[in-house]
Subunit: 341 residues, 4 copies
């Protein structure tokens, strides 16, 4: 019976907006070894609704929640992540933290220092590492099946652009969307990124010009080990949520294709027709969210370091900042320029 | 928030073995508009474990459960289905009933008479109709996309043979396994079956000879509208749960392919490697179980007839009985021979 | 440079209708180690046209051709095959013979006796054995990769029905079309067929009723080793030439899928669109025709027995005759009933 | 009968090395409306061998050949192309010319001036435009099916690196290999390239460092219409010849996948195994070579401009030169910098 264990990790969720309420529900219902203990939100009504539906109490403050739980999920808005990580560190509670940790590198470093000092386990929410297809690509590299990796190719396209108000505070395409691909590039190659060249265009949402954002991008990454990664992004794929990763190496290649909505196919004199892609991340990645929770819970219960570390949370942010500088100056930018000081 | 509605259908589950506990959990957690109200099992310990995990009370008798719920799920062993349907009919409670209704045609008819008299909504658990890929095949026929249907081809292969003790009471391959395919043939073509020719073999589990069962079979069905269906079955597919349906018609064909475990692929000089199939029905069909529950709950709440009727439960049983006679006498057998009197 | 060798097998083609002119051209242009030496046809104009295009002389008689060549391709109409095989045997010339050898079993046996007595190498034109995809299925069985074979599933559907006049003399669906599938069943399983059950329907071309033919069929074969083969056929697949073979065994399965016209795919909000199948055998099977010629030429030049023997030509005919009797009497028919005497 | 027409275009082939002898054979055997009239090569033995195999005379000089034919195929080594185009122009003979026209822009312009002045039809050998899968991508753009194009993604990977001696004179990866992809980017988008950023690496063949070449590359192109193209290349794909083109636009995407060697597939408990890719261009692109010949012959016979013009031959060379400058200076380079003067 899923969900039935004897000693469970009692988890509190801070922030129950779209992504936080999903995490709360997954923890409550689908993660063996864990239970939802409490939720908190700066909007009490939101907290009350989710708490009611899932049968748990509402915490009226972060402190109350941290007191009452074995571990915490930080799912509130990005600008609060660093403070909440510091609070979790002070309370000595293991933390799962949604990405990005912050849009501001010094803020990230402040949070990381607190985490390091307290020695709490922290896992960053790069869920795509737990998608079985993407994972199979990383494993084909790590196992040597495809030999030394020479090229990585990532396509990541959303079904529809976010509202302008979101883009205004999100850090823009490279920090709210491509950041997943920067993580994937590091995850698949196992090598740090040393240089970034980004090219962007406004093809979908001209209004993004107001905030200096683009909606279409191609980014080339040079890795420490000499491998090249190329990423293409769009904010609007008419056919759904397009997410593909491919690694090419000395002995072969490994790729994750998009799943289709189902496996039915129709052939007539006009050709062959199949369904389209899943619409967005909820249709595509729920198993990977469950997977990251299982990994976090297992690691915390076993006293192991969770698999997506704070360093894994920091590096893609730096790459994203370099991408923005590259786009603005139309030249390759080294990561050291952004991070070095 | 899934599962959060105001007026829910309170459902009781009778029989919480492997399939019943799955239904209980789905109703408890994943079916909008429904909630799990109570469970019952002839083994009180089994009932207690499921009830505890899902936070509902145990009914000590069928009557207590029927009294307390808005609708009932009949998931106990096959030989109890007819009596439980009669009890639900007397209690005036809508019933979801696992297939088959009974292995004995007069028993089926006794239950159906009670259901008809009471006028309760009943849905039979042919979940595969709710698989989106198989459904797309039926829809391609129903919509006329592929024209008049001429041929249907169904492969249905389990990963491993059941225990001999199960086969002894299950009605054998045609009544516990092929029965899903007989339903699919009727569902996809929209036409009744008039003649059956079955050929079987023992290739996997010689011990099945003791109970007169086979583990490998090919069945040809002739439909009222002239269409031919061919079904192949095996109790043991080394590569997982193989489930495919194909309809061929005057203007094209529609087919449901097997999903793979994930979409990753590796190419080397030795060829292309992809994952294998889902292992069994839990890995393949959970969304279709959710789908049949949604359909049942929607129908009952809206006062509509549920989509898989008692007649849909009876017909595949008759075809299965004809298949057994055909296999034993090695000749085509008309459905009328078995059902006619 | 393809086609350039020093000592080539000089081949004469008898009968240059649709299939014969294709063979003549392949031999002339694409078969290493062979050259086209001469052609003959009972219609001199047909012979002259092909001979002119390919730059070879016309033989005015079969005898003249047999005298002038190293080997002969028998591609004239079916009723002449037996006599031509006898003539080739008497002339001591290796023969490639299109299928079927004859529609009449005693005629086949007369030709085979002559061939055996003369000891000439003979290869029957079951080209599909040389299709790399179908061949990979047979090899997966022969190598033990999929274990003992339990089930074989063959779909074979033509794009459009032949003219009634053709059907009148062709021996009907089981002898002009399914005969390839009977060959494939023997080829893939490596086991003889002992019993046949055929079910047919008229769904496409009602006029075929005049000559007692059907246009839609399902045939179940029982093999000597206990394996079951199921074949489905249609004379009219709106989406092209559908040719699939699948073998299922104790350790896995192997299947040949249809190639599509090309690998392009388009995804929009409406779904995924891909091309349709090749139209007919010329679009699908030319490489397999080249393959059978390479095998024949290699065998003859090396003094080996060609890979599709006269026994391989006779067995599918017997199965086809059993299928006709089964269809007409609606009962399973053993091969022994038809062949035994 | 393929190859049989009444008034054929008599074609002479200059240069019968690997690619030239292939063209000679295709023209001789597979191009309706054309015949091979004569061949010439600076190595008389090579000319004699091909001429003998195909039954045509050898021309002892370019002039003799130009005199004797209706049109000429220029397949000799790259450094001769410009002079041969000029000679064809002077002789007033339509010319098919292998790519690149020259590695030297002034040379290209000299040839183009002669062609323009003489008004002869010229077609450049970018055969991939005639591959039906790649063509389907271009057509999905041109027809508006996928809307305004935003991104193009091209992978082009050879099975094995060429010899160092070839690389020394070929112009390096961007002029002998990526040049096809530059053509494809223009063909698919219908828009000129204005800026190039190239990143390269030596991952396969360290010896290429001697001549300043790379074996692994990623190139980003910015088009006049704002679209971005990203190309990845490798000289050594262990799994064969990997050639994919994808266009992404406002209303969808279109892509050409790699064909596999055949359609057979095997499933066991270990997973699903399929064949690998075609080995190299002869296994993959022969139909596209036939296609370009058909287009050339049709255009010349109809008095139309052939479909891949001299401007189409010049533009990819300019892009390639810009790519080299970009790689060496590690900065984006505009096409105007290279071409402007």
């Amino acid at each position: 019976m899923p969900g039935v264990t004897t000693a469970t990790l009692r988890i509190g969720v801070i922030g129950v907006g779209r992504i936080g309420s999903m995490h709360a529900e997954l923890v409550a219902r689908q993660v063996p070894g864990a239970s939802l203990a409490m939720v908190h939100d700066t909007y009490p009504a939101a907290a009350a609704e989710v708490a009611g539906a899932l049968g748990v109490p509402v915490a009226t403050s972060v402190e109350e929640l941290l007191d009452a739980v074995d571990a915490v999920a930080i799912c509130a808005s990005t600008e609060t992540h660093a403070d909440l990580l510091v609070a979790a560190a002070r309370a000595g509670k293991p933390a799962f933290c949604e990405k990005p940790i912050s849009l501001d590198l010094p803020e990230v470093d402040r949070a990381l220092a607190a985490v390091r000092e307290a020695g709490i386990p922290v896992q960053i929410g790069f869920n795509r590492r737990f998608d079985p297809a993407h994972r199979s690509v990383a494993e084909a590299v790590a196992s040597g099946t495809i030999g030394d990796v020479h090229l990585v190719r990532i396509s990541s396209r959303d079904p529809a652009p976010p509202p302008l108000d979101y883009v205004r505070v999100s850090g823009g395409i490279f920090l709210d969307m491509t950041i997943h691909d920067f993580d994937m590039a590091r995850y698949v190659t196992g090598s740090e990124v040393v240089e970034v060249y980004a090219r962007g265009a406004l093809r979908v949402q001209p209004a993004f010009a107001e905030v200096g954002d683009v909606d279409t991008a191609v980014v080339t990454l040079t890795h420490e080990n000499g491998c090249l990664t190329v990423i293409d992004n769009s904010r609007e794929a008419a056919y759904g949520y397009d997410q593909r990763v491919e690694a090419f190496g000395a002995r072969g290649m490994a790729a994750s294709e998009n799943p289709l909505a189902h496996t039915g196919v129709v052939r007539t004199a006009d050709g062959t027709v199949a369904p389209t892609l899943p619409y967005f991340y909820l249709e595509r990645y729920v198993p990977s969210y469950v997977g990251e929770w299982e990994a976090f819970v297992d690691a915390v219960r076993a006293g192991r370091t969770p698999p997506v570390t704070v360093a894994d949370g920091r590096a893609p942010l730096v790459i994203g900042l370099a991408a923005w500088r590259s786009l603005r100056e139309n030249r390759p930018v080294t990561v050291a320029e952004v991070d070095g000081g």
